[in-house]
Point group: C2
Chain length 148, copies 2
DNA sequence: CTTGATGCAAACACTTTGCAACGAC
DNA sequence: GTCGTTGCAAAGTGTTTGCATCAAG
């Protein structure tokens, strides 16, 4: 299927990025990247540890966490918690407002515009879901961090 | 400012929902709800514990976690981790695809459509950000769970 | 060879649970 | 008065760190 090619691209691209930034391409890092690229979907760190060790026994827990930290710092991987270690909670939105987040300094800016209403309606009809909210976060680097 | 009114509405609305569902309105629950409504932004559980205890000393850590679990189950609060206890990680999207998530059975459906490109461009210009990705998750209940 | 990266184990942080006591209704 | 809820403390998970060793470049 098409997925395989994409995964392959992902793996090469990520490894290239690491190498280009001067990081060594180790067995542990390679295994983490391959495993991540293999995921259809989000994965938690503990699940990733398990999956990585299945693919390449002997890789240590800590290396998985360290690789995750590295890839996130380089912007190659994203987490849903803005760098904090635990989940983030927020009131289910009654009015939609979302966040623009600088992944370097964690500065955030709210924006109110919601472009998802129409999409939500359409998806709901197609999939038979009843929706009550959504999370939209846009990641980037702010002007301050860009100028460093 | 307008925020205060909104917060007030939030608090009353949430407490009403709880009461309506037959849950008792306790000091601990009230403190958690007020604190949440007071947040400009996301908050992690540990930070929430601290903030709640500042507002109302004596409230136990466990009650904060239990209230968070309750509110999330009722759809009044959302977390960014889809119910899992730890952060979720994913490759920074090169092609945009997002997820529709049933918060009851955790079933997810991908969709490719991305309506955020234009918004992203506009926001980038306004705010001086350079973006490299975004997270979009739409929460609801799937047809199976709706029919139970 | 050199030095960054690793695996391990111990420390630390976060979350959940059991239970006696309490307080919302 | 009843029973759902609480606070506490202990147990259970998840994450980070120090350090001797290893292996990528």
């Amino acid at each position: 299927m098409g997925g395989a090619l994409l995964q392959c691209d992902d793996v090469h691209g990520l490894i290239g990025s690491l190498r280009h930034s001067g990081y060594k391409i180790t067995q542990a890092r390679r295994a983490v990247i391959e495993t991540l690229a293999n995921q259809a979907r989000h994965i938690t760190a503990p699940d990733l540890v398990e999956a990585v060790q299945e693919r390449k026994p002997g890789v240590g827990r800590a290396s998985v966490y360290r690789t995750l930290e590295l890839l996130t710092r380089l912007g190659l991987v994203q987490s849903s918690t803005l760098g904090s270690t635990s989940a983030i909670y927020f009131l289910a939105p009654t009015r939609y407002h979302h966040h623009v987040i600088c992944t370097e300094c964690q500065k955030t800016v709210e924006f109110d515009e919601c472009v998802l209403r129409e999409l939500e309606q359409r998806l709901g009809e197609t999939l038979g879901f009843q929706f009550y909210g959504h999370l939209v976060e846009i990641y980037g680097r702010c002007s301050d961090c860009l100028s460093h």
